[in-house]
């Protein structure tokens, strides 16, 4: 029993930090768009924080002096990204990371944000996407269409250090109907088998 009490005492500040309302307030006054629209349906996310290779980051960063010049001198070991390919030259590491508290992301105002709520960081600059994501128009819902709504985080699909999604090989094309070649598409429309037969 005492364990339960202890647990809930510990969990309380955490719950406050994690509830969406608290988060919005921490991000400053809510924008009119957010208050006028309906609240997004409740959701959970597919956690990523524990799978991060370097987490907890404080292991090293607690002991490292924050000094921008050092970045140039000592190249951070992988999986520190080698370069930042996001937003032209307008962003740098500390737009999203805080070195005082490397275990959390930070908003532009300096509010700590857990890695599993990265959408609060992304949403500062990509507000439309975040809104779509919260309501289900961007990103992807896992497993079910009703019941607990579990979403993939932005970072599941976009590498925050290089968010453009790269081209890749498609799956194999459908099999051809026996005896028929693929229908070649031309600007006028496909070449049909009867075209081939009638034209000399």
């Amino acid at each position: 029993m005492w364990r339960l009490v202890l647990l809930s005492v510990f969990a309380l500040p955490f719950q406050i930090l994690w509830s969406p309302v608290a988060a919005v307030e921490q991000n400053g006054p809510p924008s009119p768009a957010r208050t006028s629209a309906a609240q997004p349906p409740p959701f959970t996310v597919v956690a990523r924080q524990d799978n991060l290779l370097f987490y907890p980051c404080g292991r090293c960063h607690e002991f490292m002096p924050e000094h921008p010049l050092l970045v140039a001198a000592t190249r951070p070991p992988p999986p520190h990204p080698e370069s930042l390919n996001h937003g032209g030259d307008r962003l740098w590491c500390q737009t999203c990371h805080s070195l005082d508290d490397a275990d959390h992301l930070r908003t532009l105002r300096g509010t700590p944000v857990p890695f599993d709520r990265a959408y609060l960081v992304c949403g500062q600059c990509h507000a439309n996407r975040e809104r779509d994501w919260l309501f289900g128009g961007h990103g992807k819902r896992v497993a079910n269409w009703r019941g607990t709504r579990e979403l993939y985080l932005c970072t599941n699909c976009h590498d925050p250090h290089d968010p453009t999604i790269k081209p890749r090989k498609p799956r194999k094309p459908p099999p051809l109907r026996a005896d028929l070649g693929p229908v070649a598409a031309t600007p006028k429309g496909p070449i049909m088998i009867w075209d081939e037969r009638v034209s000399p």
Partner: protein, 316 residues
């Protein structure tokens, strides 16, 4: 999860015309060994195979079967799969959910032509691997046009998306006024209360009128006896869904009735890595699909035909 389908004993407008026809044929054919009175009793010769073939022959339309007849039909389907593929499958009859009408929306600006949805669909729905049946076609179309005739679904470049192209997956639109249903001479296909257009593969006579009637090339015909490598068979099946089919019947996307009627996402949604596919209950105002329909500029393919598809496309 209670069904809201009409009661099984509700009289059907064209009750039994096909059945009567076949039954008379059958009776004529076997009159020497069986009288009319015992035509429906399966002879117990040659093990399950013969008895099943006999009972299949007299199997009624899905909507007219009694619960007992249906249970027997499901058991026969399971036995048939065992004989043909050597695999134990489970065939269920999952009823539609109350207060649910399914809809789908697809974000064209996110689809990148990977064909993951096609792959996911094939793995889920047990189409014959050699019979060229794939429920989803991903069309590659020139940007700035909507020229379906000039589209190509056999594209196979090194990487997608190709510059200057966009991708448009097309599958059964589950029309609210489905022309395929109207064209079926034996009522082997119909619209369920949850909006899904289904087929009773055992009732289908393979005339392919529905394929001609469908404006979306969504229906496919089994020209050959569909073969699936046993290791690739999905053993969780549904009568009006992904159960193994036979040669000479049509089939098509059914929004994965075996999954969606149990609250799961369809296989194509689950397979899509981009999040372009949004599925849900049109009657639930908090659903994702309703958010998309209310907040995005959506359109439907060949809307002017008035078939009222429940499959929307949009861009951000």
């Amino acid at each position: 999860m209670t069904g809201n389908r009409e009661p099984r004993d509700a009289p059907c407008p064209r009750d039994g015309s096909r059945r009567e026809f076949l039954k008379n044929l059958g009776v004529g054919g076997v009159a020497t060994i069986a009288g009319t009175g015992v035509a429906l009793a399966a002879p117990n010769l040659g093990g399950d195979a013969l008895a099943d073939a006999w009972s299949d022959f007299f199997q009624d339309h899905y909507q007219r079967m009694t619960p007992e007849e249906l249970a027997n039909a499901l058991a026969r389907i399971e036995r048939r799969a065992r004989r043909r593929f050597g695999v134990d499958i489970r065939c269920e009859d999952t009823p539609p959910l109350d207060g649910v009408v399914f809809g789908y929306a697809l974000n064209i600006s996110k689809c990148r032509g990977y064909r993951e949805c096609v792959e996911g669909c094939v793995r889920e729905n047990n189409p014959g691997r050699d019979s060229q049946v794939q429920y989803i076609r991903v069309l590659e179309i020139d940007r700035g046009t909507m020229n379906l005739e000039g589209s190509d679904h056999y594209y196979d470049p090194e990487t997608v998306p190709r510059p200057g192209k966009f991708y448009l997956p097309v599958q059964c639109m589950q029309c609210d006024d489905p022309p395929c249903v109207k064209s079926c001479p034996v009522e082997a296909t119909w619209k369920e209360p949850d909006g899904i257009v289904v087929i009773d593969y055992d009732w289908c006579i393979g005339c392919r009128y529905c394929m001609a009637a469908c404006p979306y090339w969504a229906r496919h015909f089994n020209w050959t006896d569909p073969w699936i490598p046993p290791a690739e068979i999905n053993p969780v099946t549904n009568y009006l869904g992904n159960r193994p089919r036979a040669k000479g019947v049509t089939e098509k996307c059914h929004f994965c009735t075996q999954r969606t009627r149990k609250g799961r996402q369809p296989a194509c949604q689950e397979a899509c890595p981009t999040g372009a596919r949004i599925f849900g209950n049109l009657l639930d105002p908090t659903s994702e699909i309703r958010y998309v329909l209310e907040n995005k500029t959506v359109f439907r393919l060949k809307e002017e035909l008035g078939t009222d598809p429940k499959f929307w496309y949009f861009t951000d």
